[in-house]
């Protein structure tokens, strides 16, 4: 990060701002971390401890049984694998389709393309329960219930609006002169997309990859309804199902969800350096 001291007034005098900002951030970070620490606390306590003494005190001894139970459970390994098998292809497919759509809407607009774009964007705005039953009937008819396919397809479809929107906005910042120059050199639209527009769009792709991965990873409605046997379940369904009609399992739930959040965190840490460049591009135009 470049040295841009936004708050520094005059460099020679004593400047209290960095200290104030640091302390403010420290306080905010503590506040922000508190709920996460709550999850951590719940994961190192037994359900009995929580029901007796509440959550917000530190345990007298570290109880790692919840983690042992989660990590040692072969079903959990399968849940992880299934979640990855759903999340990775759906993330890639939805971004790919969004790239195609976004490119047309920004670089090859046509009569009615704005209306079509509006219709697609409107797909972001309804609660997914609205289409639950028709989609179940449809995939049931195809005999694909209790496989991972419906979940992959549905997440791909549901990701199209946001991916199209972001890619369209991003492609709009790619100068038209670049495209025209490529055309003069004899490139077709597909070559322009893959060799000119996409290399400039890595940041937008990184943002989308992070978002889509996180959302799909953390979803439980679709896998819950569209899979039935334990071998096809995903990690979020595993977390939801831990709670019984007449029982609670806070400790195991906490441990499992901490472990389940690691992949999304890793994805973020991996992709975040591209985020920065992304907005640089956007601002060239802005």
């Amino acid at each position: 990060m470049a040295d841009r001291a936004v708050f520094i007034q005059t460099p020679r005098e004593f400047n209290p701002w960095p200290v104030v900002i640091f302390i403010a951030l420290l306080v905010l970070a503590t506040l922000f971390l508190a709920p996460t620490i709550g999850v951590l606390l719940s994961s190192i306590k037994t359900t009995k401890e929580i029901s007796e003494g509440g959550l917000w005190n530190f345990p007298t001894h570290l109880f790692l049984g919840n983690f042992a139970e989660v990590l040692g459970n072969p079903a959990v390994h399968r849940y992880f694998l299934n979640t990855l098998l759903v999340t990775a292809p759906a993330t890639i497919a939805s971004i790919a389709l969004g790239v195609l759509g976004g490119y047309v809407f920004s670089k090859l607009p046509f009569w009615g393309s704005n209306l079509l774009f509006l219709v697609i964007i409107s797909g972001m705005f309804f609660p997914p329960q609205v289409i639950l039953i028709p989609l179940f009937q449809f995939f049931n008819y195809l005999g694909l219930i209790d496989t991972l396919w419906p979940i992959i397809f549905i997440h791909t479809a549901l990701g199209i609006p946001i991916c199209t929107l972001l890619m369209r906005n991003f492609f709009a910042t790619v100068p038209n002169t670049l495209r025209e120059a490529a055309i003069l050199e004899g490139a077709n639209e597909f070559q322009i997309l893959t060799r000119v527009a996409l290399p400039l769009s890595l940041p937008a792709l990184a943002v989308l990859a992070t978002l889509q991965f996180t959302w799909i990873w953390n979803d439980f409605l679709w896998p819950l309804i569209f899979t039935q046997s334990d071998e096809k379940r995903t990690i979020m369904v595993g977390i939801v199902n831990l709670k019984g009609q007449y029982s609670v399992a806070w400790g195991v739930q906490g441990a499992l969800s901490l472990i389940a959040s690691l992949p999304t965190l890793v994805v973020f840490l991996f992709f975040q350096r591209y985020f920065i460049k992304g907005m640089t591009m956007g601002a060239v135009k802005g």
């Binding site: 508190a34 709920p35 090859l108 705005f125 802005g286």
Partner: protein, 293 residues
């Protein structure tokens, strides 16, 4: 030239439009269809009831309640994470030591599943030993046992706070990215001219961050609808519907009362409202484009 463009349009749009129509638009149409029936979900022998379900919406006291709550939810679920994210981004961007660590801390909540976030915030709001009341009592030396989630006046607001906690990191990351793109020279000019910090934010940073804001708002709007999960876990729309949103109301009517026809009518209305919101969003977007484009 124009002819070959059409070929590419068709080639590029075929897959996204096909998948989207098949798996989103078409199911939405069937929802439209069911909104004219008295289907209960189980029974294949449903009847057509014309506009009865839509007529019922007008007299449904809970529907009005849900509209108001949805409005509150949307506005605050967009404003709070956006403003907080902007503020955090400014603070972190000031080259403070440990900026990367702070950034990760603020982003962390997004990675956690709604089920556990809902449970933890329930424990924060717990009246007797919850973190919030404990802190209030510690600092103000009181003995309060206010039940934040169980009182109709505070239930929705309490969930919005939990929601904002989870979403702020996303806005922050995008604003941070936007901030790095602001040209050095501009800020140096500000310094020489002796502009105050507040003026600098208002006159320079906010306008230059417009592209980031467009993305942040779009994501907040989409996300605020995904907020169903956390609301469902923390209050389930309660106590007595005080935190019902349209999505929750639709879910209750369709899946708890088994009034699929009526629930479908609600989702049609929800969809129409969404179209209006998108129109507004795009009109603003166009205006912004004209000013800064």
């Amino acid at each position: 030239m124009e002819k070959s463009n059409w070929v590419w349009r068709v080639v590029f749009l075929a897959a996204p439009v096909a998948v989207f129509s098949l798996l989103v638009l078409w199911p939405l149409c069937s929802s439209f269809f069911y909104s004219f029936t008295n289907w209960n979900g189980f029974n294949p022998n449903y009847k057509f009831v014309g506009f009865d379900n839509y007529a019922k919406i007008i007299t449904d006291r809970l529907f009005l309640n849900a509209i108001i709550n949805t409005f509150i939810w949307m506005v605050s679920a967009i404003l709070l994470p956006t403003l907080l994210g902007f503020g955090f981004a400014l603070l972190i961007d000031s080259n403070v030591p440990g900026g990367k660590i702070f950034k990760s801390i603020f982003y962390l909540p997004i990675c956690l599943s709604a089920v556990v976030v809902g449970q933890i915030w329930t424990w924060i709001y717990q009246p007797d030993w919850g973190l919030l009341n404990t802190l209030i009592n510690f600092f103000l030396n009181e003995s309060m046992n206010f039940a934040w989630l169980a009182k109709p006046d505070t239930s929705l607001g309490s969930v919005i706070v939990a929601w904002s906690w989870q979403q702020t990191g996303l806005s922050m990351v995008i604003y941070l990215a936007g901030l790095t793109s602001i040209p050095e020279e501009l800020l140096e000019v500000c310094e020489i001219e002796g502009t105050s910090t507040w003026q600098k934010i208002r006159m320079v940073l906010v306008p230059l961050l417009t592209p980031a804001t467009v993305v942040v708002i779009a994501l907040s709007v989409i996300n605020s609808l995904k907020g169903f999960d956390i609301l469902y876990i923390m209050t389930g729309g309660g106590p007595f519907h005080s935190s019902d949103t349209l999505a929750m109301h639709m879910y209750n009517e369709s899946f708890k009362k088994y009034l699929m026809g009526y629930g479908s009518a609600i989702s049609v209305v929800l969809f129409l409202l969404a179209l209006v919101i998108i129109r507004i969003y795009f009109r603003e977007l166009k205006r912004i484009d004209e000013i800064y484009g």
